[in-house]
Symmetry: C2
Subunit: 333 residues, 2 copies
Amino acid sequence: MKITMKDIAKEAGVSVTTVSHVINGTKRISEETYTKIMSLVEKYSYVPNTMAQNLRQQNSNMAALVVSSFPDSYITSIVKAVGERARDRGYHLLFINTNENQKDEQEAVTLLTSRMIDGLILSPTTRDANYLQPLIERKFPIVLVNRYDPKLIELPWVTADDFQAGYDGTYHLIGHGHRNIGIIYNFPEVTTTTDRLEGYKEALKQSGIPFREEYLVQGYGSIEGAALATEKLLTAHKEITAIFVLSDRMTIGTISALKNMSKKWPNDIALIGYGDFEASTIIDPPITNVSLPPDTVGKTAFDALLNRIQNPNYNKHIQLPTSLVIRKSCGCN
Amino acid sequence: MKITMKDIAKEAGVSVTTVSHVINGTKRISEETYTKIMSLVEKYSYVPNTMAQNLRQQNSNMAALVVSSFPDSYITSIVKAVGERARDRGYHLLFINTNENQKDEQEAVTLLTSRMIDGLILSPTTRDANYLQPLIERKFPIVLVNRYDPKLIELPWVTADDFQAGYDGTYHLIGHGHRNIGIIYNFPEVTTTTDRLEGYKEALKQSGIPFREEYLVQGYGSIEGAALATEKLLTAHKEITAIFVLSDRMTIGTISALKNMSKKWPNDIALIGYGDFEASTIIDPPITNVSLPPDTVGKTAFDALLNRIQNPNYNKHIQLPTSLVIRKSCGCN
DNA sequence: TTGTACGCGTTATCAC
DNA sequence: GTGATAACGCGTACAA
């Protein structure tokens, strides 16, 4: 049985208006009716219908986060950070995972943006995000996180400085004397891949090392994919002495492949990962990572969304600086 | 600018009723008006207001998952599995994380259950879940997952057979000759702890080993907490030769502590974890786990919720059997 | 201090 | 085939 204000009002012998005022504290009400109503609210544990409230008030105090590359531990941390920030700011956060599936993503976004939420943080899937155009025109508040789409310049975004990340990791490996450096990436069309690859190329170029397309292998963001990719890479190119792996889960896959092939890191193959999965430190030798605290990403992203909600013209493109967390897998000690 | 059916209707020179029928295909409409309306829908990329629809139809085809121990990798996998199952069943799934914070959890549940969703899957926090009583009385569909609350017998739940899990892990260690077995648990009041401890005690008892309260240490579900707990445990009780760690993240902490103390596993300390974090296999030596595929948990939980939605009297208490994934940290090889 | 009346955007019923 | 009209549950200007 669904209790509504009408029911409360009837039983209390007052109008719905009065009930509404009591519940929202929006006007002075006599002590007597106040307690009468509150006791009924208690008795039936009445809770206002959120849908009706939102419909009436034209906002919901809810934001949403739609992410496609879940559950990567790095993304998971971002999800957590965004959630906490949202709570601190008085928002409820809904989270939807779309498994790199363009269709699911579109459905989720459509559902959420049909007046259900006040704003959206989106980590888009690999393919084109043109379906966002109508939302952009409608000025629906959206912020891209982690990945961005250069075609959607009208949207603010918060990402890592992936160019720098690619450059730093590569540069560090070159510093250890490596000249044949393999890359395991997840998907070719996302900026977390393309930008880091640009950085990789730049670092090579500055050191006079020729770029070789064959050193780039797709790991599909999964453990198995990366393991396969690593094996393929090392079998085909025995001259490779270092690998830069662009995500946490893939790093696990690469390590697993190295173990299978009885290769030691960093001596046989030097290793740098991207991200910061919790097991990094207890793997032996521990893994050096290019990293950006997911906390920072999440908080910044939510704040950007708030800005966009309050000001439809807010359109900053934020690239947060990454840093190298040096452990041992790169050859340092 | 928010476009509504009224706007479309006005510009098309028809009534809202007609627009509604066109959009929902709920009646025959003349070719002419049909195309006229559809082109306007296209032009303004009109999308119906979900809130209004839900308000009117009294259901939403949305379910929610509220979880408190995020981001544990095991929970993360459950989250993913529930999401996939929901999608397969034609539901949208909202996810909210509450960080073991009772107040946040209650707020989230209240928000969601105030007519926004059709059903809820909940992994409750440690403290009492009495605030659920009103929802239970109202027959709001709720299923508990991972953890349950023995006082809430009226709710269905889907968990691991935690007693068996505790028994199996302990029994296996005893089989390797260990008699002084430490336990790192996350929180004392949850069934994932209490039930496993019961299993632990039973295994000890059957082997004639006295139970010692001092061997139980709280790790707070975190890496740091478990590291501290492990150090404390091993310093205070040098006779301990094996540790059973009850969650993925804490296993990482325990390993980190062992490394700090220069203890080797399984030789100095045998190790069994609970869960199945992805790095288990690449840690050296790899970690033996008591485990239950999170996929199974997630899918079962969502199906249970569907049952509960369709039949308010559905009230199965499902305990899924766990299994021992033997690697090397326990002493096997 | 309390109540009346209307509207938020939709869908369902029933007429024409 | 199309259109009034009411209703979903709530908030609020306005009146009493």
